[in-house]
Amino acid sequence: MTGKTIDKMMSLKPVSRRRFVAGASALSLGAGLGMAPFVRRASANTEVKVLNWQGYGTDEAWALEAFKAATGLDVVHEYYNSESEMITKLQTNPGAYDVIVTNSAWNARASDLGVIQPIDTAQIGHFADLNPSFRDSPLLGTGGNVFGVAWVWGITAIAYSTEVYAEAPNSIEVLWDAKNAKRVSVRDDAIEMVNFAAIATGQDMNHPADLGKVKEKLLALKPNVALLWSSEDEWNKQFQAKAFDVSIYWSGSALRSKTNFQLPVGFVVPDEGAVGWFDGLAIGKDAPNVEGAHKFINYMIDPTYYVDWATKVGAPASANSKAMAALPDSDPSKAFYSDEAAIKRLQFMAPLSDEERQAYSDLWTEVKTEFAQ
C-alpha cells in the first residue's frame, strides 16, 4: 500500500472527528491492499458530480456529450432511491457533490441542515425565463437566498389503458369503482397514497384534517388493488403484461411509457384534482466545482436541451416558460402541460413534518396489513 493511497483515504475523513481512526483504518489498509488500481482519481475542475434519481434527465448520454462539447466538463453521477437517502448521502459525504436534484418538499430541509449552499443566480443565464410561480417559490429559497433553481414540474395522477378505456376516466373514483376489481395498481408509497385519499375525500392533500376518513377510503381500495408498484420499470413490465388497467402514475413516466415503449397509456387529471410537484437543482455545500455546477444548472434549464429531452425521451414539464414554448405543437406534452384548467385542479406537495411522515407511514402500513389479510 502506497503512502499516497493512505493519504487519499485519510482525506475522506471529515475534519472534525477523531482518535478512533487508527484501529479502523488499519483494518481498511489490509482491505485496500491491491485495490489501489480501482481508486478513482478526483479531478475537480473538469468534472461535475451530480446526485439524482437514475434516468431522470441529468444522465442522458447525448446531453452529456453536448454539455462536454460546450464546456469541456465531464459529468459524473451518483444516484439515490429515496429523498431521505439523498439527505443522508449529503450529510455523510460533505463536499462530494456539485449538483443535487431536490424535490420541492425536501429543498428546505436540505438548506436547514446546511448541506446545500445559496446559488448565484446571476451566473445562470436562463434564470429570468423561469416561470415565476416556481422560480420564486418559498419552497426553493429563504431569506433572499435561492437554494434551488426550479427545474421541472409534473403531475401524479391517473394513468389508464387506452385499450380498455375508450374515453379518459374523469373521476378519481375510477380507482374505487366496483367494476375494477383486481384491475388497479397504486404505488407503494405512504405519502402519495395519503395525498390521493385526501383528495378523494375532499381534504387538503398535504395536511388532511381527518385521517380517519383517509384510512377508511384507502381500506376501501382492497378489492380493486391487484399489485403495489414501486418502480417505473416494474410499472412498465406489469402494464405490458396487462396485470392492471388503471393506476396512479407520474406524468413524465406516462409520457416515457408511451414514447419509449409504445404502450397504450392514457393520462388524466381527474375532476377532483391530483398531486403536483416540482423539482429544483441545488448546489452542494463545499461543492468541489461551484462554477461547473452553475454551468450545468443553466444547461439543464436550457430550452434546446429540454426540447430534446421531452421529444426523444419523455419528460416532465420544464419550469422554463421559453422551453415550454419551444416544444413543437405536435408534442403531446405541450398541450398536456399547458391545460390551465387541469393545472388549477392540482395541489402541490409541501414539506411535511417528521410526525406527519410517521403518521402517514403507519396509516399506510396498517392499510397494507389489511390488504394482505
Partner: protein
C-alpha cells in the same frame, strides 16, 4: 478438553481474524445502531437527541406489528420447511447415490443459479408464474385447453420465489454433512437388523443434523427479514416486517424506530434458536 496454553493460542489464532473483521465492520456499527434505537432522533438531525424507550414501545402499541411479525415468521417457517423437504432428499441422493465426476458437476450446478442477480431472477419468476407467461404459453401451445397457470400476486408465488432463492443452501449444507457419514456406519445398522427407516431415523438423520441446522439458519433468518420477493411476487399478499423496517429508512427517516424493529427481529431469531439449541445438542450428539 482442558485448554492448554497452546490450544488457547490455536483458538485465538483461528477465530481472531474473522471476529476482528466482523467487529470492525459489523459489530461496532451495529452497536451504534443499538444505541440509536434508544434515542428519539437520528444522529444526523441538528437538535440534541435524548434517551427513550418509545421505539420499542411502538412495536407493542401499534396494532399492525404483530400480524406483520407473525406473517414474517410463518413465511420463514414455510420456506425453510419446503427447502428441507425438497433439498434433503436431493442432498441424500447426491451424497450417497451419485458417484464419480457427475457428483462434482451437480454440486457446482446447484449453486450456479445464485450467481445471477436476485431481482432479475424474481422478474423471471413473474414471467413463469403469470397467465400468458412463458410457461403458460408453452403449455397451451402443446396442450391447448390445459388449465392456465396464474399464480402471480399470491402467497404461493412468494413461497416459490423464496424457496428457489434459498434451496441451494439446504442442499449443500445437508450434502456436506451427509457425505461425511461413513457408509460403514449405515451398513452396520443394516446388518444389525435395522430396517431402512430405522437406520435413517436413528443413524443418518442425527448425524446429518448439523447440516440441516446450518441450512435452516441460513434460510429462516434472512427470509423473515425479506421484502423484495414478497413485494414483487406477492402483489398485496406479501406484507412483511422487513418492508416496514425499510420504510423507516426511506420514507419517514426514522432511523431509531427502524433500528429498534431490526433488533426486535434479531431477538426473535435468537429466542427461536435459543429454544432449539438444547434440543439440537442432545439430538446431534456431538458439538
Amino acid at each position: 478438553m482442558t485448554p492448554t496454553t497452546r490450544t488457547r493460542w490455536a483458538i485465538l489464532g483461528l477465530t481472531g481474524p474473522a471476529y476482528l473483521w466482523l467487529a470492525g465492520t459489523i459489530f461496532l456499527p451495529l452497536t451504534a445502531m443499538l444505541v440509536l434505537s434508544f434515542l428519539d432522533k437520528s444522529p444526523l438531525v441538528p437538535q440534541p437527541a435524548s434517551f427513550t424507550l418509545a421505539n420499542y414501545q411502538a412495536y407493542f402499541s401499534k396494532s399492525f406489528y404483530w400480524p406483520l411479525t407473525r406473517w414474517s415468521i410463518e413465511l420463514g417457517l414455510w420456506v425453510t420447511l419446503f427447502c428441507f423437504l425438497i433439498g434433503y432428499p436431493a442432498a441424500f441422493a447426491l451424497a450417497k447415490r451419485v458417484k464419480g465426476r457427475w457428483r462434482e458437476a451437480i454440486f457446482l450446478l446447484i449453486v450456479l443459479p445464485f450467481w445471477s442477480n436476485a431481482l432479475v431472477r424474481v422478474f423471471s419468476w413473474t414471467m413463469v408464474l403469470r397467465s400468458n407467461g412463458i410457461v403458460d404459453v408453452a403449455v397451451q401451445s402443446v396442450f391447448p385447453g390445459a388449465p392456465t397457470i396464474d399464480l402471480l400476486f399470491s402467497y404461493p408465488a412468494v413461497i416459490i420465489g423464496l424457496v428457489h432463492s434459498y434451496l441451494p443452501y439446504m442442499i449443500l449444507t445437508c450434502y456436506i454433512a451427509l457425505q461425511a457419514i461413513d457408509d460403514s456406519l449405515i451398513e452396520a445398522g443394516r446388518s444389525l437388523g435395522a430396517n431402512r427407516f430405522t437406520t435413517f431415523y436413528r443413524v443418518i438423520l442425527p448425524l446429518s443434523l448439523p447440516g440441516i441446522v446450518s441450512g435452516a439458519a441460513l434460510i429462516f433468518v434472512p427470509v423473515i427479514g425479506s421484502f423484495m420477493e414478497p413485494r414483487i411476487l406477492g402483489g398485496t399478499k406479501g406484507a412483511t416486517l422487513g418492508m416496514n423496517i425499510e420504510e423507516q429508512f426511506t420514507v419517514t427517516a426514522n432511523w431509531p424506530l427502524g433500528a429498534a424493529l431490526s433488533f426486535i427481529l434479531l431477538a426473535i431469531v435468537l429466542v427461536i434458536f435459543g429454544i432449539l439449541y438444547p434440543v439440537l445438542r442432545r439430538q446431534g450428539g456431538g458439538a
